[in-house]
């Protein structure tokens, strides 16, 4: 599947894989995120952290008519203000997508799938 944009010079087609990788990349650079979780593993009730090269799997890109929605499954660090981190991820992902691919997404939905407690807590 891919997202299509119509411009006056023709059509631009961007595969969802590209979008999810860019979105995932933006998210893991965001402070407070310690990992992405795969959506598929939810069935088993397990939230496993994805390996770095795999983080696009924690991102789901949906296209409804002309609207693009992104769902992100994240794991955050314990002892942080999670609501604020989720908010930061939203704005950073939205900004990065519009800057690098020129794609304006309608929503970035954040699913906090886990909290990781780091060593000294």
């Amino acid at each position: 599947m891919s997202v299509e944009m119509n411009t006056k010079n023709g059509q631009i087609t961007i595969s969802t894989e590209v979008i999810s990788t860019v979105a995932g990349g933006a998210a893991v650079e965001c402070y407070g995120i310690v990992g992405m979780a795969s959506k598929n593993q939810l069935r088993d009730g397990l939230t496993e952290m994805l390996k770095k090269e795999n983080f696009s799997r924690g991102v789901v890109v949906r296209q409804e008519d002309d609207h693009v929605h992104i769902d992100m499954y994240i794991i955050v660090s314990y002892g942080t203000k999670i609501s604020e981190i989720a908010h930061n991820v939203q704005s950073q992902v939205k900004y990065t997508l519009s800057k690098t691919i020129g794609l304006n997404v309608d929503s970035v939905n954040i699913y906090v799938q886990g909290v990781r407690v780091t060593g000294d807590d």
Partner: protein, 551 residues
């Protein structure tokens, strides 16, 4: 006063002062915000986070340093806003953890608390980005560890920490490309430094200065422009066309008439401009504003004193050239391009009308270099480029340029302007490079070239003596006629050149030829060679008064 142990009250006072420092500088820090999202809120966010931390600290009733640190961490966590706020809360969360059971703090303990704060902060991110507040905090804490071994007193200790943080902050543009591009330091890092400057000034017993000049105006101006460039896609969208910067040196008598009020001044300016930055102290005001009428802004400033360091730039022009630069390389390469060398505007136009893509200025006395030719090849922006040197001295450099070019380039060795022009007639965009080269070269050999010019020194050629400043006629490279009168030379040369097989005579006259002379020339040619078709063009070339092309 020596201060070897921090108690809760002292630390709390430090925090309060740090927070106040930050809040005074929040606006400036906002202006620096270009990363990760250039929304200009870092200062505001950090300030809100820190204010929340500070309020929590004020509620602490004991004199226990660990409790104060814990309260700070709690307040920061609850009030964390934005990326920088969250990071700040983590830095102090680790910090407070380390000091949990300490009633008072030594420099060594403080340093190790900073270190733990940094460790905690780094743990909460998968992919730390260097060149941000994280880097500044880490490098400051590294220096703190070293400093703590030597300094037992908090004032010199914190002085070193602040110095290291400043150094680290100045280095952030090297680590994070977007900062360097815009020409600013990291906003979060600046916030961190500001807090520490507040800590230090409290220990030293200094007053809180009004908005600190720690952030340079230049940085803020760069950041403003960066935000603007992001906003404007089209030059037509610019409402305020002139970037206006100036300083006002206060003058006593003027101030008596119109007392200076920064708030009012700001408001007044913002009525007819945006991207406004005003920084003032007792002696001067520095202003940066985008307006449509720069004069109004200047007059407004002039009410308070003398104007200095005025800089006004037309942003529309800058933007147009910026947009132009960005869009031109994206143009698609054409299949064929022709690069040629000519002197004189008229000759240049003739070549362009024949289909040349780039005409380089040059000729007999001014041979273009290989580099000039290479540049022209690039400009032609084509997959295949043909060069017509139009002069035998340029053929060599043209061949060199062809060799080093990345595109497919060939040289059709035209030695004169008429040869170049006839060669153009043999060119066909549908043919291959080889076919074109052949066709063009064979067209070239069908044309006879005559040139009329003057001698720069006495000389002799083929038994003919030529005096300096006399005119001479050159027929395909050989001097055939010489005479003090230009018109006589031209006539003589034509009769030498033309035989009964010729059909077309083209005259390209140079910049020295007068109208009367040209009229006489025309009458002569029409009368003498009535069988031939005559074409006359203004070449505007120097040195050669006439160029004849005969086919």
């Amino acid at each position: 006063m020596s201060l070897q142990e921090l108690d809760g009250k002292t630390f709390a006072a430090m925090v309060v002062q740090g927070s106040r420092y930050l809040s005074n500088n929040a606006q400036m820090i906002d202006a620096l915000n270009v990363f990760p999202v250039p929304d200009g809120d870092t200062g505001t966010n950090m300030n809100l986070s820190m204010t929340s931390g500070q309020q929590e600290v004020k509620n602490v009733t004991t004199d226990h340093a660990g409790d104060v640190a814990k309260a700070l961490a709690k307040g920061l966590l609850m009030g964390a806003r934005g990326n920088s706020g969250v990071i700040l809360s983590q830095l102090f969360r680790g910090f407070s953890k380390s000091l949990e059971h300490k009633t008072t703090i030594t420099t060594v303990e403080y340093a190790s608390a900073m270190k733990q704060g940094v460790e905690t902060a780094y743990k909460a991110v998968m992919k730390p980005v260097e060149g941000t507040v994280l880097t500044v905090a880490r490098e400051a804490s590294e220096e703190a560890e070293k400093a703590a071994e030597e300094e037992k007193d908090f004032i010199p200790f914190l002085e070193r920490v602040v110095k290291a943080a400043k150094k680290s902050l100045d280095h952030t543009p090297e680590l994070l490309p977007v900062l360097k591009e815009v020409g600013v330091v990291d906003s979060g890092g600046q916030g961190f430094l500001t807090i520490y400057e507040g800590f230090l000034s409290n220990l030293k017993g200094e007053e809180v200065p009004e908005a600190d000049s720690g952030v340079s105006m230049d940085d803020m101006v760069s950041a403003e422009h960066h935000k603007l460039n992001q906003d404007f896609m089209d030059t037509a969208d610019i409402h305020y066309g002139y970037c206006t910067e100036f300083m006002v040196k206060f003058e006593e008598d003027k101030l008596q008439e119109t007392p200076y009020d920064e708030e009012a001044f700001r408001e007044h300016l913002s009525e007819f401009g945006d991207s406004l930055l005003v920084v003032s102290d007792d002696e001067l005001i520095r202003v940066h504003v985008h307006v449509e009428e720069p004069g109004r802004a200047l007059s407004l400033g002039q009410q308070y004193g003398r104007l200095t360091n005025i800089k006004i730039e037309n942003m529309r022009e800058q933007h147009t050239s910026l947009v132009g630069e960005a869009s031109s390389p994206s143009k698609e390469k054409s299949e064929y391009g022709i690069v040629t060398v000519a002197m004189g505007d008229g000759v240049k136009k003739l070549f362009e009308s024949l289909g040349a893509s780039v005409v380089i200025e040059g000729g007999q006395t001014m041979n273009p270099s290989t580099q000039d030719l290479s540049k022209a090849i690039e400009q032609a922006h084509a997959n295949r480029v043909i060069i017509l040197p139009n002069n035998k001295n340029i053929i060599m450099s043209a061949e060199q340029a062809a060799e080093i070019a990345e595109d497919q380039v060939t040289v059709v060795p035209s030695k004169t302007i008429p040869q170049g022009m006839s060669a153009m007639l043999g060119y066909s965009p549908e043919s291959t490079m080889e076919e074109n080269k052949q066709a063009m070269t064979s067209m070239m050999s069908d044309v006879k070239t005559g040139q009329v010019t003057y001698a720069v020194r006495d000389t002799s050629f083929n038994g003919m003596t030529i005096e300096k400043d006399h005119f001479m006629g050159i027929f395909d490279g050989d001097i055939t006629v010489s005479n003090p009168e230009r018109l006589d030379v031209a006539k003589g040369l034509l009769s030498e050149m033309i035989d009964e097989d010729d059909e077309i005579l083209t005259i390209i006259y140079g910049e020295e030829v007068t109208e009367e002379e040209l009229a006489e020339m025309k009458d002569y040619a029409e009368a003498e060679f009535e069988e031939m078709e005559l074409e006359i063009h203004e070449g505007g070339q120097p040195i050669y008064s006439y160029i004849f092309s005969i086919e």
